[in-house]
Symmetry: C2
Subunit: 472 residues, 2 copies
């Protein structure tokens, strides 16, 4: 029996305690986008710092100007014969509204058994990303309990602003680069291919948000006095939003697709063989008819085509009927980019397009975040191959290498500023309801995820470091 | 010196006390559409009942199932040689949001002097409709102080649900018709033609509200996972709203104009001679370019053409940036009708039109109120002529007989259920900011409005009651 079997045995044996500790963290409402909860974010960071310290890491908070990073190391970082991994996850969570749709309070985590017998961990952050962080931490604990150390050198780097667009992260990576040397990033913030098939995401979309505000009359008007005569910002906004797409569901912003590379025919073929998980996912949420760009499958659309989505709108009467013609209306949008599309360029094209559509009588203003570009990993990366081997041992199946429609700004910045590729392993499932009420994480995701990381750490320890010397 | 001069003298002499009493009423936040303020609505009704009782009326609350009506009478109702007027106004007010835009707390009324020296009464309800009610009550007080009674028999009828669409009023008028016999309604809930020219509104638009709710996925989705693939209710809603109008700013609902009568050429000519007050009003609110149906002036659009306005929209992310694709989106609309357009018919046409535009994958639901039809008064009505004479005496100018873009459901129902025409006199100004922050009522509107009613009551007392016997 090899060391790994003992480690896996310890993980299983102490699994209840793993859940207990996860629940302690999950009770802290670390909603990063809510300024009122900044103290809770710091509390979550301190809790994690204490916890990894109790496992044997040297731990501290790394200040960022925003919510702190939990930074911890274990291993002899001068021993360059051992691979050195930097583990990335985030301890902050999404807001909980609409709160009334939660069947269990979001920050009172509990184990629940679904109708089909599936055991789930209920609570905000279970899947995104506190539970996923824990799969790695508990794998480390298994190794440390058995061997007193880890098979590789490990830097833990847990950010607290991922759900708020990681506003402080890029600067932190640049300023703290000296403390962040490693060979590769292991990240846990992604999903399984399906319930039984693991996945390593090899593409991420770029992302930025923009808010459009249409300004009309200088005050709210009575629709009886001014209706049908005064420009209505809600109508102007509706026209702008409706005009963002053409009849082929293509984004109608001039120049939007200029930098988009066509997906190679071979890759499209490979993806088509992966089946139609996206269609199935649609069924899970009560829909049946994907809204696709003409000529693309749901998978291609999600992984390789840029999309613009309206995330929220508001303006005017928000209560009972009231005959008001408001002075302002707004919409928030997310832009998911691919390949060489640059957030700054697309933002400029979008704003110019909108401005050209606003009647001379109205005015438009914008508020946006910086956003991040897209990311792609080569399929012959030795750490990718090692991680795949670990996943296959745990799940009995080769992992898929999907793209992703999601965006993790950190991943692009690790590449840009630290020169590090990221191996994105995760155990979330499509029905985990991340970013929505009733978020959950299957107990099986937690258990087998932890076991997976234990195996991956061992496989990564075997990566030939000649790779590092030749590549860097 | 006639009685009227003494009455006008008493009104001026006691004007400060009139403001004091108005402010007492204005401090009660009787927002009828907010269920949490139902108690305040009743408090306002009781205050008014007590106040008119102190003037000499026999007063009580008339229960309606909703907010009560203040009901009061003065005079010998069996004396059919005297005309009998029913005075209509409303003591409820609009909500105050956005509260942050008020420079003075909405329910802490005060007198303020504008930069140009105009004295104004600041506070919610000052113009719509508590201040306007007071012009009538204080005119009665003047007459009563001088003569111990009024020149005509008066029933006061002050409703508490006008700003909420008068949900209980129609039933109340039907059930209480026996107590509401009169010769004519005098209403005070409308505006001056301009600062120096009085007006009697002779047309009201019909009005109903409808809310469209687009239902898409069965829960909020992550726009990274589902963006560009799942139907987005916000996009479906934007398409619906943008498609409500055609390039000529005509409402694009099939059948919408079927029952609309063309305005007679002679009336259009008369209106064009009234000038372009609507364009000036647009300037007051920071706009310059009316959004009109091709072929109509702003005045025609407001008074004689039906319009549909978007009053509010919502859905999805309402806070900081968040990559959500929401399960629902909604819009609230107001429909302003003319002539023979029936609310029920137009509502059905609208809903059918919307339903036909919803993708098969989404669902749409509606919530609406009953609404009311349009109203028009003949220009040879003897009470109209009497009121016009009173206004001319006070203002030194003949009143204009404009249409109105607004709607007062009560007016149509007085006609339908009590057989009464309404003489709509009011002293509001276009810049009073009714239904908006910083509502005000000019001190001059209050003072000369009160004096106007004193004169109108006398003129009405001279109406030849043969009219009543032949007409009814």
């Amino acid at each position: 029996m090899g060391a790994i079997d003992t480690v896996l045995g310890l993980i299983d044996e102490h699994f209840d305690r793993s859940i207990e500790k996860l629940f302690e963290l999950a009770r802290i409402p670390s909603v990063s986008s809510d300024p009122a909860l900044a103290g809770e974010c710091r509390r979550a960071a301190l809790w994690l710092s204490d916890y990894v310290s109790s496992l044997g890491f040297q731990s501290r908070l790394m200040e960022t100007g925003g919510h702190p990073v939990v930074y911890a190391i274990l291993g002899d970082l001068n021993d360059t014969t051992k691979p050195h991994v930097l583990f990335y996850g985030h301890y902050d969570v999404q807001p909980v509204d609409p709160i009334e749709k939660w069947t269990n309070p979001p920050f009172e985590p509990k184990i629940d058994v679904a109708k089909d017998g599936t055991e789930r961990l209920l609570g905000r952050g279970m899947s995104d990303d506190k539970g996923q962080i824990f799969t790695f931490l508990e794998a480390c604990r298994g190794w440390i309990e058995h061997t007193g150390t880890l098979p590789v050198n490990v830097t833990i780097f847990l950010e607290g602003e991922e759900e708020a667009g990681s506003p402080s992260l890029e600067r932190t990576l640049i300023e703290q680069a000296g403390d962040l040397a490693a060979d590769v990033v292991l990240a846990c913030d992604s999903a399984m291919w399906d319930r039984d098939t693991p996945a390593i995401a090899t593409r991420l979309k770029g992302l930025f948000h923009d808010k459009v505000i249409v300004h009309g009359p200088n005050r709210d008007l009575h629709s009886g006095t001014y209706g049908g005569v005064a420009a209505n910002p809600l109508r102007v906004l509706s026209n702008i939003l409706a005009g963002l797409y053409d009849a082929d569901n293509r984004v109608a912003i001039p120049g939007f697709y200029d930098e988009v590379e066509q997906v190679p025919a071979s890759l499209r073929q490979q993806w088509r063989e992966l089946g139609s998980a996206a269609d199935a996912a649609l069924g899970d949420v009560g829909l049946s008819m994907p809204v696709l760009e003409t000529g693309y499958t749901a998978m291609e659309q999600t992984w390789a085509r840029p999309v613009v989505d309206i995330n929220g709108v508001g303006g005017g009467n928000q209560g009972p009927p009231r005959s008001v013609l408001p002075s302002q209306a707004w919409a928030r949008l997310s832009f998911r980019l691919v390949a060489s599309q640059k957030p700054d360029v697309i933002r400029r094209l979008f704003r110019e397009h909108v401005a050209s559509q606003v009647p001379s009588d109205c005015r438009v203003s914008f508020e946006g975040d910086d956003g991040c570009g897209a990311y792609a990993l080569k399929e012959d990366n030795p750490f990718l191959i090692a991680a795949a081997r670990g996943l296959e041992a745990e799940w009995g199946r080769q992992p898929k290498f999907p793209g992703s429609g999601g965006s993790i700004p950190a991943i692009g910045w690790f590449k840009d500023h630290l020169g590090l590729d990221s191996i994105m392993v995760g155990f979330a499932l499509d029905d985990d309801a991340i970013h929505a009420p009733n978020e959950k994480y299957d107990v099986r995701s937690m258990r087998k995820g932890t076991r997976s990381w234990a195996r991956i750490l061992e496989e990564v320890s075997r990566v030939d470091l000649k790779w590092r010397r030749t590549e860097r």
